[in-house]
Symmetry: C2
């Protein structure tokens, strides 16, 4: 007999991200939402992506999620390297822009943003993989140029 579909386990960076989402919930209105409910809007698969129009301003909720994702990245990098990391975003109305994560005078992550309207990841695994890639890049930059990171 086939088992019912098991719920995906939220681990790695996705778990950090859920903590950051809950930290925004100062009124406790999401207390009864599961971690999966909270991370679900970050998962935008191919079909969902196609259904989102990329005209007009990106949805404020999408921008909020984008900022949460990179904010949580900063905190994770911070925890791993012991230095403060802060995000700086430049976004045009058309959903194009640039996200920079800065540590001291060093830009540890430099990401071109496009089609921000459709921000999201194919799956939880893809979300974690992308985050780990960026975290590894950031740590490598800091290890390569510690004097700039500590400036």
């Amino acid at each position: 007999m086939e088992a019912t579909a098991t719920l995906p386990v939220i681990e790695g960076f996705a778990a950090d991200l859920v903590r950051q989402i809950r930290a925004q919930d100062t009124h406790g209105s999401w207390d009864r939402k599961s971690d999966l409910d909270l991370i679900e809007p970050f998962i935008v698969d191919k079909d969902k992506r196609r259904a989102i129009p990329i005209i007009g301003d990106p949805d404020p909720d999408t921008i909020w999620r984008l900022e949460l994702f990179y904010g949580a990245l900063c905190l994770t990098i911070e925890r791993r390297c012991g230095r403060m990391v802060s995000p700086l975003m430049k976004l045009s109305h058309e959903g194009f822009g640039r996200m920079v994560l800065a540590c001291g005078r060093l830009i540890v992550v430099n990401k071109a943003l496009r089609d921000v309207h459709r921000f999201g990841f194919d799956s939880l695994e893809k979300l974690n993989a992308e985050a780990e890639k960026l975290i590894a890049q950031a740590i490598a930059m800091i290890e390569q140029f510690p004097a700039v990171a500590d400036y």
Copy 2:
């Protein structure tokens, strides 16, 4: 006999800034304005400054001038060091924020913004002095960390 007040000469960075202002004027509507007319809103002396309230959102024209000032700084630094420099601004509604000028992966200028509502300089000389200070800082950073600037 006393001579009439001589008009201030616009030179140094202020002249670069005027060129940038004129570059925005795609319809030629400022052709009959003198350089002094164009630079005048950047000069905010003590009395003028006091008269500007710092509640509510900063005036869009003020933000436009702030962006022009730092944009012109980027171009001047670029001309002097041969590397592209680009601005990134993070501004809250209350007129506080951060302006970063980035060259490659290096933050060459990192400026805390406050009371953006009152953005301006006491005099043309002060405008040039502040600009030269920031340009010198940026060039020194690039000379100290060329590998990061070229990353």
